[in-house]
Amino acid sequence: MYRYDEFDHALVSERIAEFTDQVRRRVDGRLTEDQFKPLRLMNGVYLQLHAYMLRVAVPYGTMNSAQLKKLGHIARVYDKGYGHFTTRTNIQYNWPALSDLPAILTELAEVEMHAIQTSGNCIRNVTTDVFAGATDEEIEDPRPWCEIIRQWSTIHPEFSFLPRKFKIAVIASETDRAAIRTHDVGLQIVRGENGETAFRVFVGGGQGRLPHIAQEIAPAVPGRELLAYLTAILRAYNLLGRRDNIHKARIKILVAALGIDAFREEVERQFETLRHEDLRIPDDELARIQAYFAPPPFETLPKHSGPFDRALLADPDFARWSRNNVRRHRAPGYASAIISLKPVGGVPGDMTADQMDVVAKLARRFSFDEVRAAYEQNLVLPHVKLDDLPEVWRTLHAHGLATANADLVTDVIACPGLDYCSLANARSIPVAQALSKRLADLDFQEKLGPIRVNMSGCINACGHHHVGHIGVLGVDRKGEEFYQITVGGSPDEQAALGEIVGKSLPAEDVAPAIERALNRYLAIRHEGERFIDTVRRTGAEPFREAIYEAA
């Protein structure tokens, strides 16, 4: 993975020194809250319902053990002993004191982490395939390009005060595990002319109040032109995007209003007059960054592992976890393991400091010192030997981290909701917990197969409810919490927005209604048909009926 050199360190140190001074000015009264707010937001600091909240970037979801250990240390020393992983693959602390923030940022810098641009109307943390560098499906590892975009977009003089936030995701396979079509810009690495790296570019995706699926704007932008092309898109957006209405300020609204063809013309007009030479990544710089992401020294192993196969036979719990949470790897004898942060009745995405230490140690011993944050609010050990999986599982199991529900119905994506967030209209966590308890039976979950449930506590859609196979949106009806249900959404290469099935339900009715919809699916599915495929075949109607059936 990428390691800072003196320049990267210098940049982060400069920002910490600056923010430390701003905090000091705020505490001694030289800055008012109105003046301080945009400055703290540039450093990922929010003021939520009960306390300040700090969002720390995990660039493209990749961490080493020292970094995860440090995140645990910060949770323990400066917070209440836990952190919350987000759908942007970042981590949030819910209780830091303002006066501790400089110390926290200094500690983070020691392990090459920061909170720069984790909020505000700028280019946010770039996300990617959680199995980057491990999957056999990718054309190349997308992370060097993520790192290039990270560097280019950091403290960008022109794009730090955009109409609204701007999110970019990069993948390198046809299978989309990063939901690129829900992003302001989605990038898919393809082979261009002469086999060089090129980018299929999607633009104008986004969730929130007015959700849109991104449209293709360019089929194959050559790698060396990527930053020029992104600059052209951002320029067109910065000049033309709406600033009069916060709900209409994202690029999706601009693209929808102009139409993709007219927007493309705007981008191309900007692209033609850019000074391309300046924005071409020097070859040696590209090579330097790519070298960090060279595959780790995998051993040459047989495809099958005796210890793994024996453990599968010996322990049904291990077998179930392997079935549901282990994914195929490019190197024979290796696998990627998903660490579910969705225990029955738990808070989706929460992790204690001790658990972070445990996973850090596992990453170091068994996964070439690498661990990933997934946008589904889970962690992944990307490179584990099959031989080692039984021991990894035992350790995870001993620490409440071996819930065998990856991509199953209780692997719920949920925002913090009204329990923490000042924007929320309703709580998400208790509804997710009720669902997870009701559907805890793993035999039933496995029978259902892959189903994604997404919950958001308000229309900002941090829980991605629009693209959940089943989406749940909290709304406020005259001071009471109600929940609107959608079905048929999908975040992947067949991205689609869910359809609202009808009037919203009170909190206690949500889990039973979803269970009825799931039973309807079992009744009407064709042999081997996934939930989302059944919805696509039948439409929402059968599920609407089930959801509103008198309980």
Partner: protein, 350 residues
């Protein structure tokens, strides 16, 4: 970037172009102009940054002034987007603006100012000797953790540790595991190690969580050609050393810009002024333990409960160059210890 005094209050239009003016109109106004003022309607409204950047890229050479609702914290954005000056508002504190402008920023991306992006600074030439001297000056009194962390920062992905897993290697390797356990560790397997050393190597690797120990072997063809009877250690120890140590390690180490050693100042008189960063044969040697004394090394064994080498109590292993390959090492060690300087590779080992 210059700071301009606030304009006197007046109802007269000041000729500034509002930041929400369409690009085409701004460009038209720029034709033939030698001064343009762009007024930001709100500090959150960043259109002015793009307008300025585009004008500069398209060749506007006149003066460019920013006015309106701006924060001192945006000074860098204005400067980098091609503004020459900012018109302060009444009541603004010029000291805050001056402070922000005095900051020298590290910048990643090219823009419309003179700042050199990191991408180009990285490629700027600094000789290895200059770099080592700079780092040694900065870190010569630092503790081992700081030295090693700096080394990883300065040579990311291009750094490896040399280790023979000898008597004191645990200290050095433990330190490495704390900083980055994925760092390559080059272990020279001459085929003549004590078995205890090999099992100690595996034990220590697992215990410390090192994930990238690379075993360096002599070239089989060379060995068959030059030492077919496997007795060169007796007949020509220097040639044996060259065949089994110098050449294989040279090949393995060529992939790195910097090599970490476990050398310490106290180990021999010739090492009294051992630098923490130095250049040897075209590569940087990092000696993070240089400043430790024997007691501190012992303390680290105790503090971290590090396993001792199974042969550690044998005098041979505690000698100057550490455990060299079993046979030739024992044969040659006394002479080495008395000699003027260790050879390049044994010097690197502990």
């Amino acid at each position: 970037m210059r700071l301009l005094d606030p304009l006197p209050e007046t109802d007269e239009p000041d000729g500034a172009i509002p930041g929400d003016t369409p690009l085409a109109e701004v460009e038209a106004a720029a034709v033939g102009a030698n001064r343009l003022t762009i007024r930001f309607g709100a500090f959150r409204d960043g259109r002015g940054f793009s307008l300025a950047s585009i004008l500069r890229e398209r060749g506007y050479g006149g003066e460019l002034i920013a006015a309106g609702d701006l924060l001192p914290d945006q000074a860098r954005h204005l400067k980098r987007s091609g503004f020459d000056a900012v018109r302060l508002n009444a009541g603004a504190d010029p000291a805050e603006w001056r402070a922000m402008l005095a900051v020298i920023d590290t910048v990643y991306q090219p823009a419309s100012d003179v700042a050199v992006p990191v991408w180009h600074r990285r490629a700027a030439v600094e000789t290895l000797e200059q770099k080592a001297a700079r780092l040694d000056a900065r870190y010569r009194d630092a503790d081992p953790e700081t030295v090693l962390a700096a080394a990883h920062r300065e040579f990311p992905g291009r750094i490896a540790q040399l280790s023979s897993f000898g008597a004191e290697a645990a200290v050095s390797l433990h330190l490495l595991a704390q900083v980055d356990p994925a760092t390559p560790v080059l272990f020279l397997d001459t085929g003549q190690h004590f078995l205890q050393t090999l099992s100690y190597r595996d034990k220590l690797t697992a215990r410390l969580g090192l994930t990238n120990v690379k075993i360096v072997l002599p070239d089989a063809a060379e060995r068959a050609g030059e030492d077919p009877k496997n007795d060169m250690w007796r007949s020509d120890p220097d040639a044996c050393c060259d065949l089994r140590k110098v050449r294989p390690l040279g090949r393995a180490a060529a992939a790195y810009d910097a090599l970490i050693t476990g050398r310490k100042r106290y180990q021999a008189t010739t090492r009294e002024r051992l630098a923490v960063f130095e250049v040897l044969d075209g590569q940087v040697r990092v000696n993070p333990l240089a400043n430790l004394d024997a007691d501190e090394v012992e303390a680290r064994f105790d503090d971290h409960d590090l396993p001792a080498h199974p042969l550690a109590d044998q005098a041979t292993l505690r000698s100057v160059a550490g455990p060299a390959p079993a046979r030739c090492g024992r044969a040659r060690m006394p002479a080495r210890a008395a000699g003027p300087a260790p050879t390049r590779w044994s010097a690197a080992f502990t």
